[in-house]
Amino acid sequence: MISKSVLLLLIGSALVTWIPRITPFILGKMVKFPAIVTRFLQYLPLSILCALLLETVFNAKAGSLATPKWDVVIALIPTVITAVWLKDLMKTVVVGIAAMALVRLVI
């Protein structure tokens, strides 16, 4: 049902993902983070969501400038319009998927 190497891989990957996820929650129970840390982290949601979004738009290769994925850029246009206009995440995702399917059909 599962090969030994895959099982090993899954357990290893699960651990290296889980530990960073829970450590701050365990530490946070024992000590209070300094105010300065909290002050800077206040901007994390905005910063990291922006970074995660942009990361999906570019083809990155170390040593050369990142190039935009053009199919993603084109599909982004109706997606962003929907998001701004309707402010509805579910509709944004539907329009996005449909737009991308159409773009890939044409390109």
């Binding site: 946070g28 994390l44 990155a60 701004v84 509805d88 995440l89 995702v93």
Partner: protein
Amino acid sequence: MEEVETDTGYTTFRDGVRSCLPTVLGYLGIGFSFGIVGINSHLNLFEITLMSAIVYGGSSQFVMCGLLLANTSITGIVMTVFLVNLRHLLMSMTASPHFREESLLSNISVGSLLTDESFAVFSTTVAQEKHFSLRWMEGLNVTAYLTWIVATFLGGLVGNFISNPEQFGLDFALTAMFVGLFLTQFEWELSKNMKKSIMVVATVVVSLYILLSFVSSSLAVIISALLGCLVGGLAYDK
């Protein structure tokens, strides 16, 4: 947190489920395409479902499949997964102070199920200055978790018949979800402090683009997000 009055819609487990619903379609799209990609990477249905249940990190799971196909060593893959998922450390650091009063076990459970998307929904709730309960957070997290596993399983079932989920645009569910989550957060931050929010976003955009030429994209995300925090924090009192 129990002593504090919570806002309507942010109190019960069920409220948490409801708060998760807008993201459910995104999880379904991404989880489904992951299931297909997983099967086409020569993993079986049990292996991909187990992966979604114990790794539970969307982008890292796609990366794992790619590396498996490229015959990368187990150590190499695990190290990459660590880097790709390291951003959760920052999210957990940001979210954890809100759960200080809860038990250690509750803290571990909230941390274990924290994802980009649940963190975004959580952060928007914080930005809106809503008071929420632990049960609400659990409802949000558990709904996302179960959706992810079911979507993976379903994708795995059809994985033998579809080799390329990209032709249906399903992979774009990730980008589309980030668009919606980012814009919602941005709107709230703009309404609070327009100049500073624009400065933070501009810093992230410019630094991410530059960093992508020098470091892996997962490191670029972490460093540019930290630079965004730095600019926001330094401009604190203005």
